[in-house]
Symmetry: C2
Amino acid sequence: MVTEKSPSGVSRRNFLQAVGVGSSAGVMFATMGAMGLAPTAAAQPPSTSWVAPLRSDFTLTGRAARKVVVVGAGPAGLASAYELQKAGYQVTVLEARHRPGGRTLTIRGGDSETDVDGVTQTARFDDGVYMNAGAARIAQWMVTMDYIRELGVPYEVFTNMNADAYIYNERSGATPGNPIRNRTAKADLFGYVSELLTLATNQGALDQELTAEDKENLRSFLRSWGSLQPDGRYRGGNNRGFEVYPSAWNEHGTPLPGPGTVSEVLASRVGQYFPFELNWEQAMLMFQPKGGMDTIYRSMVEAIGKQNVKFRSPVTGVENTASGVRVTYTASNGHARQIEADFAIVAAPPFVMRRWSSNWGPDVDAALGEFTAGSPAGKIGLQYASRFWEDDHRIFGGITETDMDLSKIWYPSYGYGERKGLVIGYYNTGANARAYADMTPKQRELRAVEQGVKIHGEKYRTELESSFSIAWHKVPYIEGAWAFPNTQSAGFKLLQQGAGNVYFAGDWMSEISAWQHGAFWSARYAVQALHTRVMTT
Amino acid sequence: MVTEKSPSGVSRRNFLQAVGVGSSAGVMFATMGAMGLAPTAAAQPPSTSWVAPLRSDFTLTGRAARKVVVVGAGPAGLASAYELQKAGYQVTVLEARHRPGGRTLTIRGGDSETDVDGVTQTARFDDGVYMNAGAARIAQWMVTMDYIRELGVPYEVFTNMNADAYIYNERSGATPGNPIRNRTAKADLFGYVSELLTLATNQGALDQELTAEDKENLRSFLRSWGSLQPDGRYRGGNNRGFEVYPSAWNEHGTPLPGPGTVSEVLASRVGQYFPFELNWEQAMLMFQPKGGMDTIYRSMVEAIGKQNVKFRSPVTGVENTASGVRVTYTASNGHARQIEADFAIVAAPPFVMRRWSSNWGPDVDAALGEFTAGSPAGKIGLQYASRFWEDDHRIFGGITETDMDLSKIWYPSYGYGERKGLVIGYYNTGANARAYADMTPKQRELRAVEQGVKIHGEKYRTELESSFSIAWHKVPYIEGAWAFPNTQSAGFKLLQQGAGNVYFAGDWMSEISAWQHGAFWSARYAVQALHTRVMTT
């Protein structure tokens, strides 16, 4: 669970955890009632915390564990099945595709994907080289960290930012044809921002906002943060980095060209990339499982039991029956099959669900219809014979930002010191993602490389060994990178109630769509609603 | 070598490298002459580049390899010996202490250190738990990266900053008794800075500095970077983090208290810690060898040959003779010994060298005397039975900054997912380091823990299993954490000439003292000066 430190006292969540440990489900549910948290209607989960179902909830109450069909072996589906299975539920997971993880897709050598247009790519990556084609990073506060730790998945730093990565804005200001380091761009922009604010402060422009003491505190910060000269001006400095760094014996270092004028620095629009590092979902440190993000889902499948997860089994119908639910699917041998169960948790894209035969009615269908389609996003993995970004450019991870249609280049956070490596050659969304998606895989590679050469030189072309690209809106049964809910809509709240014995889960059912964190929490709440109902009816 | 990208063309360094590869030493030196880089006097190394000595420099010229005594098995001494040995020199390294690495000191279970006061500590860390008591981090541009890669030492990210680590300023402003997250402090300070500069810009206070277009570019940056509201004001936001993060089903997250007023945020002095992340030596990404920094020096000793490195062998005299040098030392059996060699490279602290018997004369002695003493710095390693900073505080690495005398708490960048872990409980310098150094090891531990409890609660005390502390100015034969040269002084330049057949090396002989990078470059230049002389006389 998310255990935030609460210096002001014991949070309700911590209190419930404390009660839950070593107590029977009865005590837990009684305590929740006393706190005003007890479920008041069958489908109303407690609104503020996660209380995992436990085997003792059944053994101590004499209730029988139930059978649940989970549709979708992505993060939400597998987490649902994993939590239910831990508590003794009989679970069957049906997955349309050939692998677990959904949009958490790790591509390794030999992996094949066929898109909705029928185009097949097979990765020719070397052993140990992989590409996280979908979800790739985890913030420390995310519940994803709890799952990888509970599952014993080894993890390592994901290098979400790097002062030595480049910014390459060829359409604006001072940098066309000349990539600059993140650290240089930051030093210049923060230097000028500090200079300007110092100037305004000294002129008295902020006297209505600031006391004399405030002004001195502010100037003190700006002087240091902006590397200002004693006269309050910015004129560059060591934090920009060097053409050749200082070494010894009076080699003081060869400065980089610049800084440009304040107008040039502002016009270069390098600052558009800096808020990312402050972003609540993106700020470092971030983490990744060693060996690929789908390691999480391989581990979950192991825990659930491989025999309980059916791949290549697309669902065609989910219906409530008098006694529970009936799920219809096409088995991997091509035959139609049905499973009867007490409940279903469906964790597929909402626009895909609407194509199923169902009897959940027009309101639920309309609520699912609020998600019209998944957004496009694309990535290409480029395997190189050498790690020239490390050898020649001294970039050991992180992200180069550009205003080209490749958008970003990601350097690998793993495999340091190995001979070969894999770069994400584009990670783009919207119109750029559609443009790449409409190309053949070879055309995508050529375009990404053509642009990357502008930053990294000819090795970006000559060292390339193989590539694999994904266009998320063309992946069968997934059809998009993400879809954001209107969490205030009546339809969204309706979906939280479920439909009869069917519950909905997915990152799109969360407050943090497009993240595994959201998918996991949606799964927890669906599981909790289901379990609360089992325990109280 | 430092291979900086030079988009503008081939640098002199790259050209020399290109010439060097596959060419004889004769061609190399001839080329250098044509470029005006050839040594003009025996002790004048080429001033702009590193050209490693090669075995072929001897085999192709018929010259005989020479014998060199290296004093000191720290980074400068071992790198000197390593480079010389690769080229066929006969090297003997004399080290006063019992281990290699100098101020790069990794403490593992069973390691013992006795300080100059005779106080002995023996580490009781578990297997796999270690403490880098000295050098701990490597920037990407540093030559240290080249050595760990050449030696095949595995490496990983060193977490030099973490948005989820704390800032705890108990003596100033709004935070006493209440640690706040780095991300929260940043959001608030950057938010107000953006608000103030937007306001001043809108008021026309900067019209003499900025064009209308500049102003729009600036406002656009500040709006995003400071998470400003449409009215240009800062009122908090998601980037501050949450008391409870958003999850699913209309749990939008529980905000943290705050933000305080602009006066409160400025008075809290949280901003004093933010320039660190922009610092040219400290900006992320940074790296560390897996398993401890001294892995570098263990590997170098292997490469040099263990039989060529004599530990517990403090030098007492270095003298030029008619044919070379004579080095006197006390062997590990307590007997005085002498070695005759062609040259010596001495890489010991300068204030220690002055105690040796020498015949390098008063000018060199005075130049060494410019380094009066090493500065104090201290660290304590605290082994904990559980990783509560990860479990309870969601801090997976990085540094908590404080205004207490412990100064900083470092969370480990290794061992994620393991049961136990080691925190650096203080890393301080100056008066704070002297204060801790004057305590017993147990007193140091108690004081560090008493302060850490204010941030992490009682687990910081109750989970503690063992500690080990270092006070660098009390380590025999080292006597300080660092000493900075006046690189403009005549004395410093005199030391670069060497004294007869004796050359000086050490981070204190570099442009970047206190870093392995500086030590390595000083070694390279000493080696180069020596080798150039061998090749040209």
